[in-house]
Symmetry: C2
Subunit: 433 residues, 2 copies
Amino acid sequence: MSAMNIPKSSFPRIIIIGGGFAGIALAKKLSKKEVQVLLIDKNNYHTFQPLLYQVSTGGLEPDSIAYPIRKVLKDYPNFFFRLANVEEIVPEKKEIITNIGAIHYDYLVLATGSETNFFGNTEIEKNGMEMKSIPQSLNLRSLILENFEQALLTDDLHQRDALMNFVIVGGGPTGVELAGALAEIKKGILPKDYPDLDTRRVQINLIQSGDRILKEMSEKASKKAEDFLENLGVQVWKNVRVKSYDGKLVSTETELSFEAATLIWAAGVKGAAIKGLDAKELLIRGNRVRVNEFNQVIGFNEIFAVGDIAGMESEEFPCGHPMMAQPAIQQGRNLGENLVKLLQQKPMQPFIYKDKGSMATVGRNKAVVDLKNFKFQGVYAWFVWMFVHLFFLIGFRNRMVVFVNWVYNYIRFDREARLIIRPYKRDYTRFKD
Amino acid sequence: MSAMNIPKSSFPRIIIIGGGFAGIALAKKLSKKEVQVLLIDKNNYHTFQPLLYQVSTGGLEPDSIAYPIRKVLKDYPNFFFRLANVEEIVPEKKEIITNIGAIHYDYLVLATGSETNFFGNTEIEKNGMEMKSIPQSLNLRSLILENFEQALLTDDLHQRDALMNFVIVGGGPTGVELAGALAEIKKGILPKDYPDLDTRRVQINLIQSGDRILKEMSEKASKKAEDFLENLGVQVWKNVRVKSYDGKLVSTETELSFEAATLIWAAGVKGAAIKGLDAKELLIRGNRVRVNEFNQVIGFNEIFAVGDIAGMESEEFPCGHPMMAQPAIQQGRNLGENLVKLLQQKPMQPFIYKDKGSMATVGRNKAVVDLKNFKFQGVYAWFVWMFVHLFFLIGFRNRMVVFVNWVYNYIRFDREARLIIRPYKRDYTRFKD
């Protein structure tokens, strides 16, 4: 047996690192082809990242937006999965090094996605919350609920307000959706759950460095989303940059500051590069590995990158494609077809991104949708948003469970998954001085 | 404001410690009565313990068997909830001491439930797994899945077998239901998920100290459950007592021993007594607080105990009532009515347990049900088991989500929640020597 107990095969071995949208789309295209595929991920499940904010805000259970990777691959012969962290890539030996051993590849595909970008601000990294994974979202859920339990116990109004002040940095879809969900909790759930707390004092502050939120979308969508948020009671701050956060005080580059127990950092992501392929000259802005139009890493014939980690510069996308599900899925599929062509010594097809539009939801009956020739907002957009997200969720059971939750939440104005399953340990004493 | 920010009230204050079956049943009976109720629990949710084994085995998401306590109480005026650990009871001062402060009571109700009883064996406590709470069940889920991932990686057959050997100690409903669920995973899921592993070598050993499993049920139920388990491939060992487990070797009082990476201890529970009311003379066997027929703690007029923690000795139940949901619910309700009577200076009604029967499920189409005059097993019993469990689950959403999962799992022979959301950190190297 070779390392990791992957049997030798007469087919070439393709290693895919990462079971996100790109990795799974690629794997599906390689099913029943004459290749041996090894998919490696640090989790045994695929995460449907667009709905993480609903896990954080008690609208969905984490299990309904995760899907076992082994189940995706179960009908594919010559597919292997290993739960492991990839520590280094050694291109000259065609080898990856992981915590469970080293292994040889014939072709390697990076589909590692992206991670939160704190732009070097270690203080915010330490004191802020992020929301890129299921455990992080559950930590945030616990913290939000713990804050209210804690607010009940203090007589110090100052401290109580800080515990009920949520500062969200970043006006992209994640920040907007989270702010909207928190505002709905404030309105629909907190007054009933905490009758002994003045929950009108809950503040939700959304901070955006630019002059509009949802800046990747149309101006109309930005404007309408801002209206929706303000109607829900969210304070939207534009042209403000957060400078520091010590766990108590959010300082900005202007005079504006906030005393807040919770800062959620949704202000940027960067490619999750791996040692051995992370040299500065290999990367474009955003820590993404530079690839050609075939998703081939520049300078390496056998290494490819798809999804958020892939930096494919073009005239239309000088900084690479948007770091979203659609480009990842499309690149994964295109590369799958190209790898088959490559093995058959046929010419590969360059990747062309088909923009299917973008959307964001703010709350109940409130969403914004930009299609190529048609932009709309409101109730209809909200139903479209829900339909599209249900459609892209992997697994019939997940779709049904999410659907049941959404119908229930809609009818009852409720979110029942407000459970602190694992407390997010935090130092409550820091507000005591 | 008084401690914990509970406002003063002209009504007497009843503190309930614990939001399990007994505490919730009691709280519901006290709604709209002239009392102030403070419910304290270390979690912000009620746990439906009978289905924990399905969380451990990937059949259900944890959120679907938990219910926010605040939501139970939300329509009750004069009800307060605090998330806290009770550290001590000081009866002479009518006070409880918690991690968030001390507080006075007029009446106190212990509804703390039970915890795993290792009978003083600290080695098993350290190396074994328990399944009395949602985090514990999730740890077990993670461990089971990690074991298979780990088994894939070793060339040492001995070690691989140990990783795939599950020893369950205790032939009560928990042990039986868990053994059955693991057997179904072995049959239906592992061969597809781990095509590169010889999952026929998975062993499930159920160890019972007495001469039959499900000893609280009828002999017919015991016999049939054992048949079901053996048909599913579970090894049932009777009249065997486990002596020690160092994390690798399970030793028994006979010559029998098992090399196993996982031991699940389901061999006993004991009352979760609290300092201040845990003196030896206050307790009966099983660490339960001795109460009279009104659930009043002997020697204390203002302190009551209901559910697993209550030790009500009687001719029919010399060691107190079975530590199960039904006695807890019935005692909670009866005490609720009695407290109202007490405040109105009317005589209290003694508790009389109405045995509604008992049941256990072994697997798909396989359950055993004992009613007073009717005992049955098999498919029909299985449907009754499911119906009863859905009925007793709190919350419409939970019922729907559990129902969707069960229908899906039944039709597809599947369990999709096989996710390692939080790895259960364990030392994989211990099998390496």
